[in-house]
């Protein structure tokens, strides 16, 4: 069988290819956050990831003619790409930042664990066959692996910023999943998600400040020591 026939049979359209590439890039951003040594670079990577998610939403809005989604794209561009990263960067600049990376395990080990998590997401959740009108069905598996890797980011990095960024990345991954499952949700429901995110930003902001004031560091490893 010639390769041309193979490609035609797998039905890789240019839209699908592009949207899958964006989803893969969202997942890769999480791996980049996992290994990034500095909190600042993590926040910047989060901004890039949010930009990719907005791009994916815009892509779906154009290709599937869902004009409601443009409102989401706009909100996400303003909030997730600009406002939230700026707030978190500001919080970091006020704190004394540890120069020691907060990895609990070696980078190579974390990448391997991340790959296992991504594999579970991709194949276990991907096997569910959620029918989607907007994106390739298997994209759901990819977004599930992004969710799992975001969990790993929260678990494997022992500092408050990583945990906040991990939570925000988790929200990004869920946004991708919602694009696959329910891109045509009523606008009011989608906007409600954004308010959840804003609440989370406030809560994490307060947590970071309180933690920093009590322990004098952003690292959470100081929390398991008894204090007299």
């Amino acid at each position: 069988m010639s390769p041309g026939v193979l490609a035609a049979e797998s039905g890789v359209g240019s839209f699908q290819s592009f949207s899958v590439a964006l989803t893969v890039a969202v997942l890769l951003c999480e791996f980049a956050m996992l290994r990034a040594p500095l909190s600042r670079s993590q926040v910047r990577i989060y901004a890039v990831q949010s930009l990719l998610v907005s791009g994916l939403a815009a892509d779906v809005a154009i290709a599937r003619h869902i004009p409601d989604l443009f409102a989401i794209v706009g909100l996400s561009l303003v909030l997730k790409v600009v406002v939230i990263p700026l707030i978190v960067l500001r919080l970091i600049s006020e704190a004394v930042v540890d120069l020691v990376p907060s990895h609990r395990l070696g980078v190579a080990t974390m990448v391997l664990l991340g790959l296992v998590a991504a594999g579970i997401g991709l194949f276990v959740v991907g096997a569910v066959h959620v029918h989607s009108r907007t994106l390739p069905t298997a994209s759901f598996g990819l977004s599930a692996s992004a969710v799992l890797v975001a969990f790993l980011l929260v678990v494997l990095r022992a500092d408050v910023v990583s945990q906040a960024v991990g939570f925000f990345a988790l929200e990004n991954a869920i946004s991708v999943a919602s694009l696959v499952v329910a891109a045509g949700l009523p606008l009011i429901v989608e906007v409600a998600f954004f308010f959840d995110l804003l609440v989370a930003v406030v809560v994490f902001g307060v947590l970071m400040r309180v933690h920093h004031r009590r322990t004098g560091t952003l690292s959470t490893s100081a929390l398991d020591e008894l204090r007299g």
Partner: protein, 318 residues
């Protein structure tokens, strides 16, 4: 007039052998210009080789015949690979399908192994350190190469380099599919590693602490050193050819057996190799070298890309 396939096959090997020093020379020049230096002449690698061929051979006391044979064996291995890959033609030539990508990889590693064995024989510390490091990091990058091969196998149903080139040429959608893009980036990083470029190794440095491949060549002299140098140029060119003609841009290859088409393919190949090489020199000039013990992070990133490519392909998204 159509050339005999055997002649074209010989031309593939000759093209690599003759132009490898030229590509190295031009890239050294570009790299120097990027750093604000005038740089050596483009033909300097040829002059260096001729100079070295005229010098005498000195052999360290503990070295045996392995030390003398290793450079020639390495060059022979590196020059065998062009037979297996599409260098000038888009159609397989005689012996062209006797080995797949894995076989090509094995032959390249055999060359590297010969050099490591030869340099370990010298009894002097730096070549031994270099060969030990080269083997260690070679083993770490190997899994990524395997997964690259798996993706090729999943896409084409075979793992012949010619088939992968055909698949990329057949449809642009295939060339830009997520799995293929991931594989391209992964293989690009593998080439970065195997040609001893930053961030893995400073290829022109004389500082022993960060040396990997460079440290191995220290004890060879005269014609043997010429062979070792020539071998590393050939290896670099061969890896560029695999990156270009199998993964990224298999266009501009000869589709017929006419001498004109073959000649054009030679020119196109050198142009593409210089373009790819320029990207490598840009990376060389703009990043710093990773600390030796951080190299595992680089290898982990390459492995991640290659494994994700296989996963995405298996999930039906490739």
């Amino acid at each position: 007039m159509a050339l005999s396939p055997v002649v074209i096959q010989a031309a593939q090997v000759l093209t690599v052998a003759v132009f490898a020093p030229f590509v190295s020379g031009v890239l050294a020049k570009i790299e120097a210009l990027g750093q604000g230096r005038r740089g050596p002449r483009v033909l300097q690698p040829y002059y260096d080789l001729v100079k070295l061929l005229r010098k005498e051979i000195l052999v360290p006391e503990p070295a045996s015949w392995v030390f003398l044979v290793a450079p020639a064996l390495a060059v022979a291995c590196f020059l065998t690979v062009p037979i297996l890959i599409p260098v000038l033609t888009s159609y397989p030539l005689p012996l062209g399908i006797m080995g797949d990508i894995l076989a090509g990889g094995f032959v390249l590693s055999l060359g590297g192994f010969a050099l490591a064995l030869g340099s370990a024989e010298t009894g002097s510390p730096y070549p031994q350190l270099g060969s030990s490091r080269a083997m260690t990091f070679g083993a770490l990058i190997e899994p990524a190469i395997l997964f690259v091969t798996f993706t090729v196998a999943l896409t084409t149903g075979t793992d012949l380099p010619y088939a992968e080139g055909d698949a990329v040429r057949a449809s642009l959608a295939q060339a830009l599919s997520p799995a293929h893009v991931l594989v391209m980036v992964a293989f690009f990083l593998v080439v970065l590693n195997d040609t001893g470029r930053i961030p893995v190794e400073t290829h022109a440095s004389t500082l022993e602490l960060g040396m990997i491949d460079e440290a191995r060549t220290m004890e060879w002299s005269g014609p043997l050193l010429a062979l070792v140098r020539f071998g590393s140029m050939v290896k670099q060119f061969v890896l560029y050819v695999i990156l270009i003609d199998v993964f990224t841009a298999p266009w501009g290859l000869a589709g017929s057996r006419s001498p004109g088409a073959i000649g054009l393919a030679v020119v196109a190949l050198i142009g593409k190799a210089l373009a790819v090489g320029t990207v490598f020199t840009l990376i060389d000039n703009s990043f710093s070298k990773l600390r030796l013990f951080k190299l595992t992070e680089f290898m982990a990133a390459v492995f991640l890309l290659a494994v994700l490519a296989v996963m995405v392909d298996l999930a039906g998204l490739g």
